[in-house]
Symmetry: C2
């Protein structure tokens, strides 16, 4: 057994306690009132990186929340691995649905519950602990390592591309490793080879200049809440297909072979349905659930508000309605083109009885597909086999990691997605959790990955 591996087994419990301290910081990136917490999380992270032996730790300013950087570059002739992650988290609301506080990390039944446990603080920490294991037992790493841990992933990484462009030499490496995804099921460690893209808008509709009495005015002027409902209802047809003209033009068709491979994966529609707790599975007709989740675009209403939403009754005819609408994009849809098509469509179908505004409220994410003949992907496969005791399955995810497209494009390097989340861990929802067994095995796999990448590069060179 490699000494780094022994170290990880020995420190298993200590690592969880350390992670709790990181999770206690409510680093919610979308809320202005958490700005100081974001700073605190960045400072905690740099202090911890220094402690485990990383060098050149820095909090790099951006137009928004800062990026945390560190490196260790004393392996001449070996590849340089850039590890990307994020220390910001989603808002925790609705708070009343959490069994224990979102920022009071608690272990129950082998799971660690906290906002950010799996998305993404726990997965960032897994890499830090793997690096610590090598540094503390060997005094060195098998490869050169750079870390780029950002604070704006949950708001679409609006400032990251510019920073990377500005400091290209600082971030340049041979391969990027990102752990911000989930495996398909417990016991089925995977490598994510595809991601969906994202565009996200807010629609506002204004009717009368102020709220009106629904008795005195009902039937006289448009009700923006009803106009919004009619507008939203038009965005998908009865088959669940999005009605925006041109929307599907660039969607890559799933080859029959890949559809067969998806069907063989350890994914049970029945179990998925039980886990989410909905009455029925639902979505675009003609596709299996996995195909819809991974390889088909979707349009979701993420939020809607108008009028009186308190207890009881208020006979108001609201003067304003708001909806948040986002689209997940499949390869090879271009988020810039889809954003244009969406705005044009809103203008085309919004009723003239209200004043309609469209605002983009998040950065755009480009869909991504990995190149399967990449040697570093094989190194990751071996590392997972060693860490988890079984070979990985190749999966996609319906989520968006805009940075994957950004970094592969800017740094011109392959990207490895090594995710240890589970589908029922409630990323972005109340009671987010991290399976501690996966956290441990993931840390082992990460330690192996550095060893395997060192070999891979030798072969290649």
């Amino acid at each position: 057994m490699h000494p780094a591996i022994g170290y990880i087994h020995l420190k298993r419990k200590v690592f969880v306690e350390e992670l709790k301290a990181f999770l206690r910081i409510p680093s919610v990136s979308t809320k202005p009132e958490n700005k100081a917490d974001i700073r605190k999380a960045a400072e905690w992270l740099t202090a911890h990186m220094k402690k485990i032996g990383l060098e050149h730790t820095a909090i790099l300013p951006t137009g928004g929340h800062p990026v945390v950087y560190a490196d260790w570059l004393h392996a001449p002739g070996k590849p340089t691995v850039l590890i990307y992650g994020h220390y910001d988290v989603q808002p925790a609301e609705p708070l009343e649905l959490w069994a224990t506080g979102p920022f009071d990390p608690t272990v129950r039944g082998g799971k660690l519950f906290a906002r950010g446990a799996v998305d993404d603080k726990g997965q960032v920490f897994m890499h830090l602990k793997a690096l610590e294991a090598h540094l503390k037992t060997q005094g060195s790493l098998p490869v050169n390592v750079k870390l780029l841990i950002e604070g704006e992933e949950e708001i679409g990484s609006p400032n990251l591309a510019r920073l990377v462009k500005d400091k290209l030499a600082l971030f340049k490496g041979d391969v990027v490793v990102i752990s911000d995804t989930a495996m398909i099921a417990k016991g089925a460690p995977g490598i994510t080879v595809g991601l969906r893209g994202l565009v996200y808008f807010q629609i506002d509709m204004d009717g009368a200049k102020s709220d009106l009495h629904s008795g005195g005015f009902g039937g006289g002027v448009e009700n923006p809440a009803f106009a919004m409902a009619q507008f939203l209802a038009q965005l998908k047809d009865r088959n669940g297909r999005i009605t925006i003209p041109g929307f599907y033009d660039d969607v890559r068709r799933l080859p029959a072979e890949e559809r067969r491979a998806l069907a063989r994966l350890p994914f049970s529609e029945k179990r998925f349905l039980r886990e989410v707790g909905a009455p029925l599975l639902h979505g675009e007709k003609g596709f299996t659930t996995l195909e819809r989740l991974w390889a088909r675009p979707t349009l979701e209403v993420n939020g809607i508000y108008s009028g009186f939403i308190g207890e009881g009754a208020k006979t108001v005819l609201p003067c304003h309605a708001m909806a948040k609408v986002s689209m997940r994009l499949a390869p090879d849809q271009d988020p810039n083109r889809i954003a244009r098509l969406f705005v044009r469509h809103v203008k085309a179908i919004a009723p003239k009885t209200v004043r309609t505004r469209v605002t983009e409220v998040s950065g755009r994410g480009t869909p991504w597909l990995a190149s399967t003949d990449e040697p570093s992907l094989q190194a990751l496969a071996r590392a997972i086999r060693k860490g988890f005791g079984k070979p990985p399955v190749y999966t996609r995810t319906g989520g968006t990691i805009p940075v994957v497209a950004t970094l592969t494009k800017l740094l011109k390097t392959p990207c490895l997605l090594m995710g240890i989340g589970l589908p029922d861990e409630n990323a972005h929802a109340p009671n987010e959790s991290l399976d501690l067994d996966n956290f441990h095995r993931g840390t082992l796999a990460a330690a192996h990955l550095f060893l395997e990448l060192a070999k891979e590069n030798r072969k290649k060179a």
Copy 2:
């Protein structure tokens, strides 16, 4: 000049200051946290009634908020007038849209701004001041008077009918007078001869058992926010007609003569549009705006909520959506039948991909049409001519005063609707106001009404 009339002219400014004290009490009936304020308003009212010379003042308990009662019954052989009003008010939210505090009554440009100024504290106060004028100058009233001022009008008067049934003898009279309506335009005092009815529901739709990540799960299960939008959109067709089967069965057709009379009223669609500030007028095709507002039923979404509605973006697939939906009913629709049809329709069209609940959240209101050959209506017409200096116009209102149907049915008496509100006074909306000139003239008209009703009864007897 009758001394009571002189007294009202003399006390004009004092009356406004007194009304302000009443308006300072935030007697919001729909909110549990205002329960003590409701009590305070009832106590303020009884104390004031005692002060002006009314008798048997009492706070009558009901299952909910109490009814305030008072009378003066020393005019043997004269008719007994039951004055109905309400001391409860609508919620003031959204507070940030008020120019001055909703419970900090402020005069600007001849208008008194406060929640309840016109709906209905100001109009209740008009009658109190007319009674005071007679009592303080004559030591008596021209007629017998009873007052029934309730605290649950804004939540649909759920306990009033039972109280009136239980104490029928206490409330029995020859005519009911209600001032809780608006005139069609300043300078056009009116008598309201028609009201719409009301049914009000809350719809809840549940999808997954908790909010989900819209990336990982979008396309896999139903989005309740989208399902709700689709559901609501189906409730009206492209012509603005409500699609509930059987909904229009009992709607009384407007006779050609009444349509012509409506067209002659001093109502400008252009001015109405400017006042409400909407981009266009809108509603059921084939009817003028006044016809739609007064004589046609309508369905309104009073509120809608789902998912993330804060600033920025949250990539959530919500697990729940809620909408408040109410219908205004035209003569002769029966609210009980419409409620049954609505619930049946919801169950018929709600998608099976969500769990749907329907809850009735307000009392039902029956639509009402006055009998125009009623002598007391002519007495009111003369009183208005004297108080306002011009003859009244006959109008309807789109609002609902469920108590009109309740009281006329239980007490078997005619009902006079003498409203002094204006269409732009924002009842139920921020910056509610009361025109102080109308308040003064209305008080004069109310004082005349008691004199005219005394005459009318003599003629009739």
